[in-house]
Symmetry: C2
Subunit: 182 residues, 2 copies
């Protein structure tokens, strides 16, 4: 498998075919890829809430859209949302976060999100990671306890977007050898 070609052809999709559901077996494989993701001290500080009930899904989509900023209006088209809720880290990872002043659960959730998006891509599905949403609304809709936080919402569905060129910083601006360079 050419992983670079695979990564190059993945993109954040913001237009989906609302009439085409995601097959259960595809979703199961995507969730298994998320479950198997590595994490600091194998802490696995996450729960994955799959939202596929049409009413709840539409309400979740409304909680991601923002009229003033004019963002995320496409989210209602996607038949599935996966909400990643941050769970308490285990003692080792919690101790490490505290000593090293780095919040490992956020890094871990990033890793799991990458697994989800790449797994979706391998199933011929499009996806988009959302970090901007009305957290309180989502907590209320999904009965998430007040002590927990939904960190990301990943929308998944059959994309109807053309593959576009990626806009990224140049290789020489992000990669150096054996020393930091501005």
């Amino acid at each position: 498998m050419d992983f670079l070609e695979f990564v190059s052809s993945r993109q954040s999709d913001r237009a989906f075919d609302p009439s085409r559901p995601v097959e259960k077996e595809k979703l199961d494989r995507i969730l298994e890829c998320a479950r198997l993701a590595p994490s600091a001290c194998n802490s696995q500080p996450w729960k994955f809430i799959v939202v596929d009930d049409p009413d709840i899904k539409n309400n979740i989509a409304d909680a991601t859209a923002n009229r003033i900023l004019s963002i995320n209006h496409f989210t209602k088209q996607a038949p599935v949302h996966i909400i990643i809720v941050e769970e308490q880290a285990n003692i080792s990872a919690g101790f490490g976060s505290w000593v090293k002043n780095k919040h490992f659960p956020h890094i871990d959730i990033g890793i799991a999100a990458a697994h989800i998006c790449l797994a979706a891509h391998s199933e011929g599905l499009g996806s988009c990671i959302l970090g901007w949403f009305n957290e309180k609304k989502i907590k209320d809709l999904l009965n998430i306890p007040s002590s927990k936080r939904p960190i990301l919402d990943i929308v998944i569905g059959y994309s109807v977007q053309e593959l576009r060129d990626k806009k990224r910083k140049k290789h020489e601006d992000v990669v150096t050898y054996n020393t930091y360079k501005k």
Copy 2:
């Protein structure tokens, strides 16, 4: 490509063949997969410092090991370390982090780290993500400005570890549908 099988056969490797270097073209493809990773508002808040100079690499490895906690003693075996340095997010992602009280650059760096480890796996290489290290020593060794932080060190090399069974939380303990469950 069976991405689930691919993810299942990746593991965090903690034993490497120190006599076997990583080919430049493999490393280039891994770095390209990192560069193409998605990030909040396409912020790309990262630099990747590849450490392959034997002396600097050994000093970096020493900065990851901890005698009291007895961790990371394998890191000197790996011929390459990739240090991910956090760079300032762009205005949109910075604004989002502030309003939503979520540090998006850490999530983004997790996504890039996943791309690196999966890309290494696709090249037949082993890897391990380290978050515990002496940050000041690494900054000094790599001339990282005092205002910047190295967040992760990913060691890469040819693994000499057997594939082991993954220990993960059960599917039913991390996946639910349309509602949070304890």
